[in-house]
Point group: C2
Chain length 457, copies 2
């Protein structure tokens, strides 16, 4: 493998925007390039066709007695528009101030190159490395991994032979402090649609006789939270896994203060999050969030109508052990029960995703049946990161969702060690996405150690 | 004057859409035609220039001892689109099934022609009719009469010499039952704009830490009504004029049942209007109505953001004696007091209009200082309508607003006798607007009697 920076530049040049068919060539290019790199590393690569973008399934298998790790990444990227906000062109990677700029530099092409470069060094030193590796690189992560379900139908059994996963698709506070993500939140999506009169009515002639669907919508939605910020849906918190003392301790090591976080968000005050601090709330608490509302007149000024229809788009972030099917039903039931007479209600049930939680070894709540290979790998990662970065990693739950991680657990029984490599400066999903070259170097060294350690376990 | 139907057809052919400068020629044509008709009736017509559409001010003045009536109408019409929903072209009037179809047929060209045709007959019989008439026909009623304020600055003193107004710009339940409208609701317009974080945030990474402006908006707006349907704004009902027993009695004569009204609105249940029946609520009660709300993602499906901004457009319909300035401030104050920390609030203060109320003579609450000429004219209208239509008129407050009527009262001290001539079948402001030819005939006869009676008072 050539110099990692050059490989990453080459990888970025393929505009692999999965959501936009205009980038079909970029998708093909990125896929072919990733396949070539994997083959250079000695993997046997299968291109698994899907309804949309094929998945790369690469294998380096020796003896079944060797440890077996699954690496996961994605070769697709977010759209780059608005292009005018980029300093340089998004698919023409450039280095400035110790960072490589380009769409996908951090999410997820940089971390993928880190993994591959580390593997290249390890295998160069020891071509007979006693480590089975299954490398899955999909092309639909940025659009919700719709093809992974079918992929699991066919390959889950094969994947289940592995011991655990290694993933780098989560965040860290800065280039000096690595975070190992121990949980991802789940998701529930639904949309409330209300209808009052069959068409907009004159608010003078009929105002007072008709339940305004905007009013009904706002009354229903306003009822979904309590003044303390908790979600007012019966049963919502029933299955929530509590926060453990060691997790609060880890959070205290996280280099973010309430004031620095408030400034980052640029708000004058935080949400009263049900007794959690804001830094806790985004990691340990479930939410019910309104993503969009609408109805009635949308233009300038005023229009004196009683509108006919209103909608609210709602998503929940769920924490470990909450059942998204159950929560979705709880919300639907409560919305039905709070809908006033004279208003008809329909609900679009959107996608759901389970939360994911893995507990590192040697914690009070570590499952007693945690596989030894997983525990060893956690310890190996801890040591390698502490040595390379001069600081032990922080073990923290994260607020975002990567549904495919829970699916790997559910479908193939694999837990994930998620070693974050994104910083807030990386501008994920935004213009001027970049990846720190210093972090890249350090991470390659750390992963080199990690691969060597887990091969010996 | 030629046959009224032909005059009305001619008047409709001018596409006098005041809101759209593309119809400047139609505006000019309608104005010139109305001026010509007034001149044929012997009026001295002044074309009063305004910033937008000139106002016709026509006078037929004899002795200052004669009774003096102000007639009001408007030569502008609503836009006709969507054109595809019209059976025939909106500005090519056609007669079908006893109705004349065309934009403006009912609002307000038909009623204007009724008044003029009645005057023509009266003056033909009695050219020396002892009646001073000031005829005001404006061209901006459909856009909120913005130029009338300046008009009053110049002409209020002259108008104040009249005794009362006669207006036909309100509704009736059907062509057999005339309603004399005794009140119009006032209006308060405002828009709440909330801002949370400075830009949309990722609902996973930051969900739980930030007050979602959509949630804040819905909580504030939901707080503006009580479960009984009343408006939950301190002081809102302080100055509300009560409903009088005779008004409830009049409403009982109104040919609409709860069931027929429910079917008309096509709702499964009415709004719980603070103890008023739906038919009372739209006439006797003030409202606070949401006309439009929005914020966050508006497309299909879902987007997991915490939006940055939200808005709600609110208008109130006020009843007599409520001060719109005071009510607007009450709402603004309450919205400010209910806005949570972390959310910044701005409010657009839109237009306001006072409600209008006139009490016919011989009622328990008739003002003791009601001018005799007004009382006589009410009695004359009652008799003429009862004779011509075979039924006494119903005296009822109406839910809509015609701000200029309250302005005539405030600026020139003139009360209005509002004799409705629109039916629900007339499709005001909608495709296939029409005017009943039978009603037109009967109304001309009735107004002929009314003009003759008031000239003798």
């Amino acid at each position: 493998m050539e110099v990692p920076l050059e490989s990453l530049k080459e990888y970025i040049r393929f505009s692999s925007v999965s959501t936009d068919s205009a980038h079909a060539q970029g998708m093909r290019g990125a896929r072919a390039y990733a396949k070539k790199l994997l083959e250079q590393l000695g993997f046997k690569v299968e291109v698994v066709e899907t309804d949309l973008h094929p998945i790369l399934l690469a294998e380096r298998h020796g003896s079944p007695d060797w440890p077996h790790v699954v690496l996961y990444g994605h070769y697709d990227v977010q759209p780059a528009d608005p292009f005018s906000l980029w300093t340089d062109k998004p698919f023409e990677p450039t280095v400035r101030g110790g960072r490589l700029y380009g769409r996908g530099a951090a999410d997820n092409k940089g971390p993928t190159i880190v993994h591959m470069a580390a593997l290249a060094r390890v295998l160069e030193k020891n071509p007979g490395l006693r480590l089975n590796i299954t490398y899955v690189i999909e092309g639909e992560e940025e659009i919700g991994s719709p093809s992974m379900s079918t992929f699991f139908d066919k390959y889950a059994e094969r994947l289940a032979k592995a011991d655990f996963m290694l993933v780098s698709d989560t965040g860290i506070p800065n280039t000096e402090q690595i975070v190992i993500t121990t949980a991802l939140r789940g998701l529930v999506d639904l949309e409330i649609k209300l209808r009052g009169p069959k068409s907009d009515l004159h608010s003078g002639i009929h105002g007072g006789a008709v339940y305004n669907p905007l009013q009904a919508l706002m009354e229903i939605c306003a009822s979904l939270h309590n003044p303390d910020g908790s979600v007012n849906v019966p049963g919502f918190y029933d299955d929530v896994v509590p926060v453990f003392d060691w997790e609060r301790h880890e959070l205290k090591c996280y280099p973010e203060t309430l004031e620095s976080y408030r400034q980052l968000l640029d708000v004058s005050a935080f949400y009263p999050a049900n007794g959690l601090s804001p830094l806790e709330a985004v990691r340990f608490g479930p939410t019910l969030e309104f993503n969009g509302i609408g109805g009635g007149y949308q233009g300038e000024g005023s229009k004196t109508v009683i509108p006919s229809e209103a909608f609210a788009k709602i998503t929940c972030r769920l924490v470990a052990n909450q059942d998204p099917v159950k929560v979705q039903k709880q919300i639907i039931d409560v919305v039905h029960s709070r809908c006033p007479e004279g208003i008809s209600l329909s609900i679009r049930e959107g996608g759901i995703a389970e939360a994911y939680l893995v507990v590192p070894p040697d914690r009070p709540n570590t499952p007693v049946d945690q596989p030894p290979a997983l525990a060893s790998a956690f310890r190996a990662a801890d040591v390698a990161i502490a040595d390379q970065f001069g600081r032990v990693p922080i073990y923290l739950r994260e607020g975002g969702s990567i549904p495919v991680i829970a699916d790997f657990k559910k479908r193939a029984g694999l837990d994930a060690i998620m070693i974050g490599l994104f910083t807030p400066l990386d501008n994920l999903h935004a213009p001027d996405e970049s990846f720190s070259l210093e972090l890249m170097d350090n991470a390659i060294f750390a992963f080199e150690r990690i691969f060597e350690s887990i091969a010996k376990s």
